[in-house]
């Protein structure tokens, strides 16, 4: 079953073409990563899908219906979008944040139903929010905050979920925490489209990857097929090495350091001595 299909999508900021004749469609229940260099139109694509930007050319169909067919509220019941740096309202607790995910299903005279309670409880369990449920959202760590946001998105109970770089600015532990949560969401049968900067994380967690470059899809498919050395070298304009990860053989991509293959520069000794003196002087300061 096709949840989302994009046909001949075109978008430009003034004269700069960002997306050029883009077409693809997504089946249900998959975790699909969008990768590509900075400025390749990843976020723009997601914003167009979430109707945060006006469509300039082409068509976006959600469950076979054009995006413009939906009202804002009915679209919010089909598709949930988490922006790159969501604004956390001051003084809010995790519980409330997740409950706000039910807003598209509520009305002025229907502010809380059994279904609301059920979906919020499901989201709470799936994102493992028990320990932080009553915490102030502003006091959470990066990974916890993202899980809380994902809880809100999940409570929205949509078939399609769009996430714009939910792991950026997180360390590897928190990245794994968030991606495990995202993976659980997709495993429930929802389609998750996620923009990821880190190729290693993308390759390890996503069922399929879409590689964007020059406003077009450069490759699409399972990570192992998409992440070829030729493609990555060309897209990011640098030379990389690709190794198979232990376990699942997912491609691990590391940049190739030029100096390793060129004659070494002069000895690195001076920098070490400098560091030592700095350390010593710091010690002197404290003794004084």
């Amino acid at each position: 079953m096709t949840v989302l299909s994009v046909k001949n999508l075109h978008f430009a900021y003034q004269d700069k073409v960002v997306l050029d004749d883009l077409s693809f469609s997504l089946p249900k229940g998959r975790l699909i990563g969008i990768v590509g260099p900075n400025g390749s139109g990843k976020s723009t694509l997601l914003k167009l899908l979430a109707r945060q930007l006006p469509i300039q050319g082409g068509e976006i169909l959600v469950h076979g219906q054009s995006l413009s067919h939906y009202s804002m509220k009915s679209l919010a019941r089909q598709l949930a979008f988490l922006p790159q740096r969501p604004v956390m309202a001051e003084g809010i607790r995790v519980e409330q944040l997740v409950q706000y995910g039910r807003h598209p299903h509520q009305g002025w005279f229907n502010q809380w139903s059994d279904e609301d309670a059920h979906q919020v409880a499901l989201a709470r369990a799936a994102m493992q929010l028990d320990a932080i449920w009553h915490r102030q959202a502003s006091s959470l760590s990066g990974g916890q905050a993202q899980r809380a946001w994902l809880g809100m998105i999940l409570a929205q109970n949509t078939d399609l979920i769009l996430l714009d770089e939910p792991t950026s600015a997180l360390d590897i532990g928190h990245q794994a925490e968030v991606m495990e949560a995202v993976h659980r969401i997709a495993a429930e049968g929802r389609t998750v489209l996620i923009v990821i900067h880190d190729l290693g994380i993308a390759a390890r967690y996503c069922d399929e990857l879409i590689a964007l470059g020059d406003g077009q899809i450069q490759a699409m498919g399972p990570a192992r097929e998409v992440m070829t050395k030729a493609l990555v070298d060309r897209l990011y304009q640098t030379e990389v090495d690709i190794l198979p990860a232990p376990g699942d053989g997912a491609p691990v991509i590391v940049p190739r350091r030029r100096s390793l293959f060129a004659p070494l520069p002069s000895t690195p000794e001076p920098s070490v001595t400098r560091a030592l003196t700095a350390h010593e002087s710091a010690q002197k300061d404290t003794t004084q």
Partner: protein, 347 residues
């Protein structure tokens, strides 16, 4: 999985109808209403020709002497009603704009709306002598000021800081024009007008208060309607839209309401500053996790303005000092405290 209601709320259900009432919020509203009644009773008893609180209550219940009735209903009550209605409007307008722009400094008196309103009232009363107080000119001036503000900076949600800075400049400009208009007039005509531009509630009549209170009452259902989407705007445009909010529509509606309400508040006793800033801050402390405590903010506004007005009346006796001077004094201290607290947070 058990059907749980969110913590901290009362859930009302009737058939297909369900309402959530934020528990702490409503308890605080009740408390503030009670305080407002106590303060109003106290305010009636204070002033020259003192009456005991017991006499006041007796008079209010219809058991007072002729003299006491004149004192309560003709002299003290209009002024107290004026302060309550104006404070209510200012607190509400402040909450609307602060939440919309997501900045505590964004209030109608900061961004030029109040100055526009008072300029219109001053102009009408100076150049068109109509006999009665031209309170209805106030929304006109406020809307014009808002239109000017919008042509200067387009999206209030996106660029909160710019919005405020341009608003302050506009506010100064409109204030200067008003002062200029007044300075061209002979001094004898200016006494009461001058006091009004500083925020003054002495001699306000029911003729001004009643129509304004009615318009405010009529706007209350609309307020209840925008309250929920307004709260979601606190999460930024993208998240609000994701949750099904038509962001530009809600922004426009909220801003329109805020301007209207702020100008009505100004029309009564003049541009009293800082109530619109202080009331929502106080309300959000009291409500804790209510994202847009509109009603609480309105009640805080009424309480603050009535408190300031009573204080000024008692302290300055028998002189008449504009209430705006007291709110400016208290507000200045509040603003300093806020900024210093922010600085400590940043250090």
């Amino acid at each position: 999985m058990a059907s749980t209601t969110p913590s901290g709320v009362w859930s009302l259900r009737m058939g297909g109808l369900s309402l959530l009432l934020h528990r702490r919020n409503w308890l605080m509203c009740g408390l503030l209403t009670f305080l407002l009644i106590v303060l109003a009773t106290l305010a009636i008893s204070l002033g020259s020709g003192q009456m005991g609180v017991r006499d006041v209550i007796a008079t209010l219940l219809g058991h007072g002497s002729k003299l006491q009735e004149i004192m309560v209903f003709k002299i003290r009550m209009p002024r107290i009603a004026a302060a309550i209605v104006a404070g209510f409007a200012m607190g509400m307008a402040g909450c609307l704009i602060q939440t919309l722009v997501r900045n505590r400094l964004a209030t109608p008196d900061m961004i030029g709306v109040n100055e526009g309103a008072s300029l219109a009232v001053v102009s009408f009363s100076l150049y068109l002598t109509l006999g009665s107080w031209p309170w209805w000119a106030s929304p006109l001036g406020a809307v014009l000021a808002a239109v000017a503000l919008f042509t200067l900076c387009r999206r209030p949600g996106e660029q909160g800081y710019l919005f405020i800075v341009i608003g302050i400049a506009l506010s100064e400009l409109l204030g200067a024009i008003g002062d200029f208009a007044m300075s061209t007039q002979p001094l004898v005509h200016l006494g009461s007008l001058y006091l009004w531009t500083m925020g003054h509630f002495a001699g306000v009549s029911y003729q001004t208060v009643n129509p304004i209170a009615l318009v405010l009452l009529a706007l209350c259902p609309l307020m209840a309607l925008v309250n929920r989407p307004l709260a979601l705007l606190r999460f930024g445009d993208a998240t609000a839209q994701n949750l099904g909010i038509r962001v530009p529509l809600v922004q426009l509606a909220v801003l329109g309401l805020a301007i209207l309400v702020a100008s009505l508040g100004t029309a009564i006793g003049g541009p009293v500053v800082f109530i619109a800033m202080a009331a929502p801050i106080l309300a959000s402390w009291l409500a804790r996790d209510n994202l847009a405590p509109l009603w609480l903010s309105a009640l805080c506004g009424a309480l603050l303005l009535l408190g300031s007005d009573t204080l000024v009346r008692v302290l300055a006796q028998p002189e008449e000092i504009p209430t705006g001077i007291m709110t400016r004094l208290l507000g200045g201290i509040l603003l300093l405290a806020l900024l210093l607290k922010d600085r400590r947070g940043a250090d």
